[in-house]
């Protein structure tokens, strides 16, 4: 059979294409009336999938909550998920593809490198992103971009709060070391830890803190034994770590035979919440961990109670972690901002998000107009192994610090001033 292209066929084809053109951008045409589509770009595969799953559940529970209560001005919230693979390159491709499909309002970024890459990208493409746990200080300082919002903890409120709490409760511990991931988030947390510790310990004891050079570990490595040996050689009383996700579980497990955490008095974990404890159970070393949201500290808050019960019902897992609350908070913030401005246009939503106060699973949060950083309480919990618990561990202490007392002053476009910590 022979196929011939003739003038009539070309004219027919052009005519059909012309007729189809208006429908190809139907998503854009219906953007202000149909359901509101929010894009969620988060790790859904690889070592950080563990965290991405919390983001996914939190966002879905938040959207369900809004939709069950009448939506946003009667419009339903729909979520469109893409896998960031914790890779700025893949994340930027996904973000652009979503904007092209009409999802200009996005959330779910947990990686600092991805969050920093999003600013210029979304500015040029006309989108907004609310991060769900990215912890670099540059986001609301030297790399501040009006298109990127952080409705969760600033790294200062999380880490400086953690350090101040430990220093106050154990001022006798002055010799510290750090095991830090060698990338943006790790360097940020260490900078804050070191500066705060060097300031607080002399204030409390009159003596200088002794802080060793941090042990820098790569992201995604399956073998941390060389780095653990390096840490074992240090003469320290406390260890601070900001290694996170699957990497943290590997690091903690590989530290067991070395006895690294038995050697020291205090272990401070910047952000792993229950990640390590649920993996190691009775083997979990006793440690303080920073939390985006600890449900016991927020009992009685209807949003927190709904998030917790919905999460447990969906997954059967009794230990939801704070990334779920950060994605949940991003949905709440978007819902309130869209309600305020009446549409989903990028610039209008940015204007509405700036200075917005909204309710969340950790109570009221306020987004600062100057640097897009939310002020929220910082939560910390002490996790210990427990043979009496089915899970193999228990939370035996927790604190919730007022956000206003631990967050740094807004300095968009300028570097973090460590003297203010």
């Amino acid at each position: 059979m022979a196929y011939k292209i003739n003038r009539r066929a070309v004219v027919k084809g052009m005519g059909a294409t012309g007729l189809a053109m208006p429908f190809l951008n139907a998503a854009t045409a219906s953007a202000q009336s149909g359901p509101i589509t929010l894009g969620v770009v988060t790790p859904l595969s690889g070592p950080a999938q563990l965290i991405g799953n919390f983001v996914r559940h939190g966002a879905e529970i938040g959207a369900d909550y809004i939709n069950a209560n009448g939506g946003v001005d009667g419009r339903e919230i729909q979520l469109e998920f893409r896998d960031s693979k914790v890779n700025p390159n893949d994340a930027s491709v996904a973000a652009r593809e979503l904007i092209g499909a009409g999802a200009n309002l996005q959330l779910g970024t947990i990686s600092s490198a991805v969050a920093l890459a999003m600013g210029p990208l979304l500015e040029s493409e006309g989108g907004v992103v609310i991060t769900s746990g990215a912890g670099t200080d540059k986001l609301n300082h030297e790399n501040y971009n009006p298109h990127v919002f952080r409705v969760g903890d600033s790294p200062v409120s999380r880490n400086a709060g953690l350090v101040r709490h430990i220093a106050n409760s154990r001022p006798d511990i002055r010799k510290w070391a750090g095991i830090i991931p060698d990338h943006e988030y790790g360097r940020t947390t260490w900078k804050i830890f070191e500066a705060t510790m060097r300031k607080v310990i002399p204030e409390l004891t009159g003596e200088e803190a002794e802080i060793a050079e941090p042990v820098l570990v790569p992201y995604g490595s399956g073998d941390y034994r060389n780095y653990i040996s390096q840490a074992m050689r240090l003469d320290v009383e406390g260890i601070y770590t900001s290694v996170y996700g699957g990497d943290a579980v590997t690091l903690y497990q590989q530290s067991q035979p070395f006895g690294l955490f038995e050697k020291t008095d205090v272990l401070l974990d910047s952000a792993n919440e229950f990640l390590v404890a649920t993996a190691m159970r009775e083997q979990t070393p006793a440690h303080w961990s920073g939390f985006h949201w600890y449900y016991e500290a927020n009992k009685g808050n209807p949003l927190s109670d709904d998030l917790y019960s919905s999460y447990v019902e969906r997954t059967g897992d009794q230990y939801p972690m704070g990334w779920a609350a950060e994605a949940h908070a991003a949905i709440m913030a978007y819902a309130k901002a869209i309600e305020k401005t009446g549409n989903t246009d990028t610039m209008d939503v940015i204007a509405a998000l700036k200075g917005l106060s909204f309710d969340s699973a950790t109570g009221m949060r306020h987004i600062r107009e100057e640097d897009n950083q939310a002020v929220k309480n910082a939560e910390l919990a002490f996790i210990e192994p427990s043979s009496s618990e089915d899970s193999g561990f228990a939370v035996t202490d927790y604190v919730s610090l007022d956000g206003e007392t631990v967050v740094e002053p807004a300095r968009p476009g300028k570097t973090l001033d460590l003297s203010t910590l």
Binding site: D90, E97, G100, G119
Partner: protein, 336 residues
């Protein structure tokens, strides 16, 4: 006898048709799809540059990411740290960076190894480049370099504004069509034929007075420069250079494109890259399924049609022609 003029015309037509198809994308698709199409266009030439080595010179490289990443980072550094330099200089520096990496590593690898050992050496060199990037503060370590601007090109009489994604997309497809056709011209030039002769029988070619090492190194450097050019063109489009683009997984991509499309045909990697892009797009909401789909497809292609899709099409056409000729001969023979 082979009619080279007819071949030249038909391959120029293929490159022009490809360019025309890509040119229509911004008119009929949203900006997200256009962005993906731009990446596919870059991948087409990235795949062709790898196949220049594999099918052209018979060298299996597992380290093409080092060229791609090298070109991308060179472009990002020029754009961010030396903004006064023209964009076209940045592109030249990017391609030159790939050529230099290829020259250094090719000089060592081609002297020391061949076959599988050569492939493993390229993989090791590539990983070395990746680690160097992640450890260099100037290159942004693990975080990479972000906010790479899109250029305005001053052409004397007028300025070409490529700051919008659509304008830059058109620049990409024109640049990639030109690079693809230039590669075809090289492969069909006397130099390209000589490199193919080395692939078929290096000992006999050496006896004819050809320096096998020099020509293999030439192919390696040219392939590296083209791959780096692809990386350099990509960076202002994505506006980011992160270490992942120099990771070994990127080295596997042109291999996948070539296996899918067919290594025996010049345009095989192009077909593979387009198919790969389509699968990636089709499975974008099925997390983790993209890799499984590509893996399964690859397995099927290798087991069922080892010549790739274009190899399969060529086989079918030959078979059809053979059947038609046979039936014509029968018809003729039956006549009184």
């Amino acid at each position: 006898m082979i009619d080279y003029r007819a071949r030249f015309r038909s391959n120029l037509l293929i490159a022009s048709c490809g360019l025309a198809v890509f040119a229509v994308v911004p008119l009929v698709a949203n900006s997200g799809l256009m962005f993906l199409a731009g990446l596919v266009a870059i991948n087409v030439v990235f795949g062709l540059s790898w196949n220049l080595l594999f099918s052209g010179a018979g060298l299996l490289s597992f380290g093409h990411a080092m060229f791609f990443g090298g070109g991308a980072y060179a472009m990002a550094v020029v754009s961010l740290r030396l903004p006064e330099l023209p964009f076209l200089v940045g592109l030249a520096v990017g391609a030159g960076c790939g050529a230099l990496i290829a020259l250094i590593f090719g000089f060592i690898a081609l002297r020391r190894a061949s076959g599988v050992y050569f492939a493993v050496l390229t993989l090791a060199f590539s990983e070395l480049v990746h680690i160097l990037i992640t450890k260099t503060t100037f290159l942004g370590r693990n975080d990479g370099l972000v906010g790479v601007p899109r250029p305005e090109i001053d052409l004397g009489l007028f300025r070409l504004d490529l700051t919008s994604a659509t304008a830059y997309y058109y620049f990409i497809i024109v640049a990639m069509a030109a690079a693809a056709f230039a590669l075809w011209c090289f492969q069909n030039s006397p130099a390209g034929r000589l490199i193919q002769a080395i692939k078929q029988d290096s000992v006999r070619t050496a006896f004819l007075g050809t320096s096998v090492f020099a020509w293999q190194l030439t192919a390696f450097v040219l392939s590296g420069a083209i791959a780096a050019f692809c990386g350099a063109v990509m960076v202002p489009f994505t506006q980011i250079a992160s270490p992942e683009i120099a990771y070994w997984t990127v080295s596997t991509q042109p291999i996948l494109f070539t296996l899918l499309g067919g290594a025996g045909n010049f345009w095989g990697p192009a077909v593979g890259a387009i198919l790969f892009g389509a699968i990636d797009y089709g499975t974008r909401a099925m997390h983790g399924l993209s890799e499984i789909t590509v893996g399964t497809l690859l397995l099927v292609v290798v087991l069922v049609i080892p010549g790739g899709l274009l190899g399969f099409v060529r086989h079918r056409r030959k078979k059809t022609r053979g059947t038609a000729k046979a039936s014509t001969a029968e018809d003729t023979g039956a006549r009184p």
